[in-house]
């Protein structure tokens, strides 16, 4: 069952899970409390509830895609079960796989998707598109009988226009695969979220994802030139030009539609020539507030780096701990602290990366970012910690596996707001999480800023607490609810790049208003009159 365990109860396989070093374990015990290792229960096919799909629906789907691309077998259904949140993993670690789909269908062409959706709409059968299955907001979870529309067969690079810099792809292609195909032709997309190793491009579009280099390469919504979407009412094909004034932005309406307005079957993405210059630096700032001011200054001077990441004091302390007492980072930091007379607890770590094909321009942009940062007390730690971050940029989820195994609740949440309210938001989210998880010695809460705009930035928060193994879902639900209430009270957005799914749906009306909900409902009714497309996401 290794292949299943991989995706259902953890991010990586057991082999890929790093060991938790003693000093990290001691630190966590002291700061968060003593955890009891989580029992390892791997869901097995024999525990999967029987398929509820009617025989006539199965036959109709076989008529469209062939028997080899339709399955109601437990193993196939387990394999098409998505969800990578703490709650998803915690629930499945008890052996609960009640959320498996009832049938898996794997179309090989857009027209097949339209026909599948037409049949399922006529039969009132719910359908959820499945790419990498990495939703952390319940985007794939539901209890009604449903079809999982798995998009792996639509995973090709179909065309590369090197003049316009546009790649045409199927939605099922994953990040590493796409980057390899593009690199062979001298191009890159540059979309690198934490989920990069497993998530699909269609999923990124459906969830308005943003990658670690979004400050320089743009968010998914900025990379998408056009998209083709299959619905029960036919096809939408939107985006004829780099930009248009031809009425409301329907491309933007479909991006972020989370499978509720159709299935994305083709995307055209803006790609760039592979950079031949890449410079990554690390910097220390005298506290998170100074760092936020520095990042704001850089953004408002149009002097951003392509990767800009600023850890608050708590995350900085953790990074230092992980790099060890003899680590490069700690050595550089200690030099700095000695000079400045700053408390080690008061330091804030920044990672900065610049990339491009014009070396002089990359160098000039780097100098401009540093001018802005130095105005706020930044000191360089040199290239090596920055390069180290770049090498380990996808390590987070594997570390979470290790901490969950050790008995900890580990989860993240994220939002964004304007600069004016940024530090208050940071404080309020911290306060909410501490209040909700107050069993002594309390949770460890750490945050970073990692997507920079001229008017504001994202806030990404990681929480570690001793898991309440009796009811970890309720434990996290309390904390998540408190943090999200704080986010909404701060006028921040309920999600900057994780999507709404089912987990954020209760707050969507606060975000867009009741008339906004009505507009979404009307839109959905136009393309999905029977309401079979991923019912429940976006509160629809």
């Amino acid at each position: 069952m290794d292949a299943q365990e991989h995706s259902l109860t953890r991010w990586g396989s057991a082999d890929e899970t790093p060991a938790v070093e003693d000093r990290v374990r001691d630190y966590l015990t002291q700061r968060v409390g003593l955890a009891r290792p989580w029992p390892r229960v791997d869901p097995r096919a024999e525990e999967v509830p029987p398929s509820r799909m009617r025989g006539d629906v199965v036959s109709a789907l076989i008529d469209i895609v062939g028997a080899e691309n339709v399955s109601v077998e437990p193993g196939a259904r387990l394999g098409a079960t998505g969800g990578a949140s703490f709650a998803d993993y915690a629930r499945r670690r008890t052996g609960d796989v009640s959320d498996v789909p009832d049938l898996v269908v794997r179309p090989g062409h857009h027209d097949e998707v339209v026909r599948i959706l037409t049949v399922l709409s006529a039969q009132d059968v719910a359908v959820v598109p499945v790419g990498g299955g990495t939703s952390v907001v319940g985007g794939l979870r539901m209890s009604v009988p449903r079809v999982a529309l798995v998009l792996d067969r639509l995973g090709d690079l179909l065309d590369l226009d090197p003049v316009s810099g546009i790649a045409t792809i199927g939605p099922g292609v994953t990040g590493p695969c796409l980057e390899a195909l593009l690199a062979a032709r001298g191009f890159t997309l540059g979309h690198l979220p934490q989920s990069w190793e497993r998530a699909s491009m269609g999923g990124y579009a459906a969830t308005r994802s943003a990658g670690q280099a979004s400050t320089g390469y743009g968010r998914s919504d900025e990379m998408i030139e056009s998209l083709v979407v299959a619905t029960p009412m036919g096809t939408m094909d939107v985006g004829r030009a780099p930009s248009s004034a031809a009425g409301p932005d329907l491309r933007g309406l479909l991006i972020g539609s989370e499978g509720a307005l159709g299935v994305i079957t083709r995307l055209r993405l803006r790609v760039r020539r592979l950079p031949d210059t890449r410079i990554y630096d690390a910097a220390i700032l005298p506290g998170f507030a100074a760092g936020v001011a520095a990042f704001r200054d850089a953004a408002q001077s149009r002097a951003t780096a392509d990767v800009m990441r600023l850890s608050d004091e708590a995350e900085t302390a953790t990074t230092l701990l992980m790099s060890g007492p003899t680590g490069l980072l700690a050595a550089g930091l200690d030099r700095y602290l000695r000079v400045r007379g700053v408390d080690r607890e008061g330091a804030s770590l920044a990672i900065l990366g610049w990339e491009g094909t014009d070396r002089d321009l990359v160098t000039a942009r780097r100098a401009a970012t540093w001018r802005a940062l130095r105005r706020h007390g930044a000191v360089s730690l040199g290239h090596r910690p920055g390069e180290s971050w770049r090498r380990h940029r996808f390590a987070g989820p594997f570390l979470r596996d290790a901490l969950m195994d050790a008995g900890y609740l580990v989860e993240t949440l994220e939002t964004a707001t304007h600069w004016n309210g940024y530090l208050d938001l940071h404080a309020d989210v911290n306060q909410a999480l501490h209040s909700a998880l107050q069993a002594p010695p309390g949770p460890y809460v750490m945050s970073h800023l990692s997507h920079v705009y001229e008017t504001g930035a994202s806030l990404y928060t990681t929480v570690i607490a001793v898991a309440d193994q009796a009811d970890p879902l309720a434990q996290w639900a309390r904390a998540k609810s408190a943090a999200t209430d704080a986010i909404m009270e701060s006028n921040a957005t309920v999600t900057h790049h994780h999507a709404v799914g089912r987990d954020h749906a209760p707050w969507l009306e606060a975000e867009i208003g009741s008339l906004g909900i009505d507009v979404l409902r009307a839109t959905k009714h136009a393309v999905d009159p029977r309401g079979v497309l991923n019912p429940g996401v976006l509160g629809l």
Copy 2:
């Protein structure tokens, strides 16, 4: 009637209209044909058809905003009549003012707008929001009885958040007024379309406008952080953060909604610190194709200027003619041509501008742009032609007044496409216009590229022909239709920054598909069930 003439039959007043120099007149006669001066007919209040508004509607509106803000007087209604296209001006030059609204209402608060829309919806009375009245696509024109909702009383700078760099404004504020208010506080918006002197910010949002500096400052849709929209069903208030993944982009749905989905009553705009460094250069390239390749190279090297404008050979020739045989530009050009042995007809003029608060960065960005341009044979003409362009950047519409007075049809159209098809699009639009306006010696057609994206660019075309004074509207309709068909056949967008209005509505289905139209209809029905909001735009 000067004030009326100003907006109804021409852009500027007669006093503001430049003289057409003899050599320009001779050139036009030779290239386009001999024109007969257009008789000057100024629409007068006594020619305005009587208001068709029912008395109970008038009373209901007076109850909401007071008698001083409601008028059915001919003068007030003439003053609220918009439309600045060639067809609008040509029709009114015959004294035809049949498209005046039937009533003018001037709300002073968002809540009044909601109440007005509620009343008008209940009474099935059409309503069109009026900002600067500068639509060139029939955005304000209709024949059914209608209320003009004039937004001049909602024209304030309500708040400036200097930390986030966000200005909160009413929709009625014009470009010069807003820039003056911002400059006094050390900020700028940088949205400078040709219509800047008269159009309103609400209008820019409603039409997805893009200004001359959009490459550096962004399009209107990129500047808008949030907007509040009044509808007959209540209020929408969307945009809580610089960016969000909270489902489909409703902000993008309302931007470009052209008054058909509601009335924009408040906007929050991203503003920047006033630049202290501004450098404008002119360059000559060996032909439009070389210039397009150079601009593409700059964009794909992330080495764009903030203003990037490239004239094709025909527009370059006109610019040289206007600057005169002894002009700086001609002198610089002749030097270049001598060195290169290039035919003067084969030259393409580029205007480039860089602005910012970090002088070293501005200088480095300028050097990077020039590196890209030089790879394609660009030669500098120095600062003075660039500065001259900047000083005269809003002169175009005044010049059109002069040419219309002289008896010429003068109109513009615009689109955008990806780089790969750009030159074919340019040729096809030219061909279509020449075929449709073929009376010898034929039209003069000239174009420029002025909004640059990594994957493509805009194309803006000006047409001059001897006006068929017997039926100038039919003459232009033929040409516009032929050009738009060519645009759609080239897979370009029907409009890059002028909006759909009524003029482009017949092509909208080709742009977004029939299901896209269905989605717009469903959206409209959710916010405007009786269909009273600017009926006819967007084909709704």
